[in-house]
């Protein structure tokens, strides 16, 4: 085990990342020491961290070459309020989620409304591996190798009508398997939305896996959205419904606090959260903070979507 300062300060080349098998062996000790140190029972964590089914995808030119965030951090530091509001909660509680059978219904303004079984979505198109930056509205970031298919590919199967202008994403809200849903911190189910052109943008991904495996439950299994130029909360997890609509949909966070969370929520170092600055971020695993980039570094690809818009008003 390394001391925190050396762990954070040293830049490690991707080739030096601990192989998964080695990492798994240290897991038992890690969990044990965490239990002693934090004084909480983390035993379900080891079960959830256990290896799932492998999943592969073609490497994508849209991937970033940046150092990837270690899997254990990706799996143990999550905002997924359906399993509790603490970032350690999802890893502790998400094992109750049943991801098979699972269906996603696509409805609204489409020519072919359809309910897809999750295993059919996996076979819909060749999966791609997309290594994206993820920037949370709270001021931290990760680099995650997702596996999935472009949302555009998926939406083309249902043929959106010309009247469809927005896409609404509905997450699962099952109080039996998602303990956090029993508390009304958010108006369940979790809702998110994109403008249709954002949804059809080639960067927008429907993710089914990460790090070469199917999605861990705490990361939004079995199917989630990944919109890398927006704050993380825009990427709905454990999706059950996708609705194409004419009017801008209400989102869970806009309902919870309209002053702090807008519909667009593009990563923008110049537009602060009313309570904290968005100018910098802490990349998980790093000691120093980084400057946050406009559109999370994807400005070249997406800035034109917002040409002429005042992003301070449309935050």
């Amino acid at each position: 085990m390394q001391p925190i300062l050396s762990r954070l300060a040293v830049q490690i080349a991707p080739s030096e990342i601990t192989p998964r098998e080695v990492f798994e062996r240290r897991r038992d000790f890690l969990v044990m020491s965490a239990q002693i140190a934090i004084g909480t029972v983390l035993s379900p964590l080891s079960a959830v961290l256990a290896s799932e089914k492998p999943l592969t995808g073609i490497k994508s030119p849209l991937s970033t070459p940046e150092k990837q965030t270690p899997l254990k951090d990706v799996m143990s530091y999550n905002n997924f309020y359906e399993f509790g509001t603490d970032k350690a909660d999802p890893a502790l509680h998400a094992h109750t989620l049943k991801t098979r059978p699972w269906t996603v219904s696509v409805e609204g303004l489409v020519k072919q409304p359809k309910t897809f079984a999750i295993d059919d979505i996996i076979k819909l198109a060749p999966l791609e591996e997309r290594i994206y930056r993820l920037r949370c509205v709270e001021g931290w970031s990760m680099v995650i190798p997702w596996l999935g298919l472009p949302l555009a590919t998926f939406l083309k199967k249902v043929e959106p009508l010309g009247s469809a202008k927005y896409v609404e994403f509905v997450s699962a809200a099952d109080p039996k398997t998602m303990p956090g849903v029993n508390r009304s911190v958010i108006d369940w189910p979790y809702l998110e939305g994109l403008r249709l052109d954002e949804a059809l943008h080639p960067l927008t991904l429907l993710a089914l896996g990460l790090y070469g495996e199917v999605l861990p439950n705490q990361n939004g299994a079995p199917l989630r959205l990944v919109v890398p130029w927006k704050y993380g909360f825009k990427s709905g997890k454990s999706l059950v419904k996708i609705r194409l609509v004419e009017k801008q949909p209400q989102t869970a966070w806009m309902k919870a606090n309209p002053r702090e969370y807008g519909f667009y929520s593009n990563v923008n170092p110049e537009v602060d959260h009313p309570r904290w600055s968005q100018a910098t971020e802490r990349r998980i695993g790093e000691f120093l903070k980084r400057k946050t980039l406009p559109f999370n570094g994807y400005a070249d690809q997406v800035a034109q979507l917002y040409a002429g818009m005042d992003l301070k008003i449309n935050f």
Partner: protein
């Protein structure tokens, strides 16, 4: 009876008790050090450390404020002799909490820090709490109590209630959405302040004879 023994502790017992308490109050810090060394503080150890230190500053503040009600309820007057140490531990954890913000969050970028203090209400109020805590820590020595005089010293140290309110509000305002923990702290603080409002004034240690000396120790 144990209760009776606990009422009248000897000098020696109190010294031992103080040593034990001193060590116990360091446990939250040692736990963080151990966790940091063993990489057991989760994916964002700096955030964990900052939050934990802040929580403990607040915990110690409420524990300090619980001393007087507890003393009155139990009649264990020696409890007052532990109050200064507990109060100084509030300051100790508050300094470390502020330190992590200044260093690990802002890396001593004073311009950014000044902007933060002016622009962000939760930082403004947290910083105010610390600014008010400073004179209390500085006047905690026996010599300072003497120099200020009991009455003035006590009036100054009533700032602790303002500090406690600021600290809880600081916590409340920084939470993203789920305010259940700050709400619990608020309830505890209300009980502690309520106790003082309801307890007759003439029962305060200042007015009664022997207790005031104990209160300053």
């Amino acid at each position: 009876m144990v209760w009776q023994i606990a009422r009248n502790l000897g000098k020696r017992s109190i010294v031992l008790l103080k040593i034990a308490l001193f060590a116990c109050c360091l446990i939250p810090l040692l736990r963080l050090g151990w966790g940091a060394w063993n990489d057991a503080l989760g994916a964002n150890p700096i955030e964990f450390i900052t939050r934990s230190l802040g929580r403990w500053a607040l915990n110690f503040l409420l524990i300090t404020l619980a001393v007087t009600p507890l003393r009155k309820l139990t009649g264990w007057n020696w409890l007052a002799q532990l109050r200064r140490m507990l109060g100084l531990y509030v300051f100790f954890y508050a300094v470390l909490h502020l330190g992590t913000y200044l260093w690990l969050d802002k890396f001593f970028d004073w311009q950014e820090i000044a902007k933060d203090v002016l622009k962000r209400p939760f930082i403004t109020i947290g910083m105010s709490a610390f600014a008010l805590l400073l004179p209390l820590a500085l006047t905690s020595t026996r010599d300072m109590v003497r120099r200020l005089g009991g009455k003035r010293w006590q009036r100054l140290h009533r700032l602790v209630y303002v500090i406690a309110i600021c600290a809880v509000v600081h916590y409340w305002w920084l939470v993203k959405l789920d305010v259940s923990l700050p709400a619990i702290y608020s309830v505890v603080l209300c009980i502690l302040i309520g106790f003082r409002l309801l307890w007759p004034v003439n029962n305060r240690p200042t007015e009664t004879s022997g207790n005031f000396k104990a209160a300053q120790e």
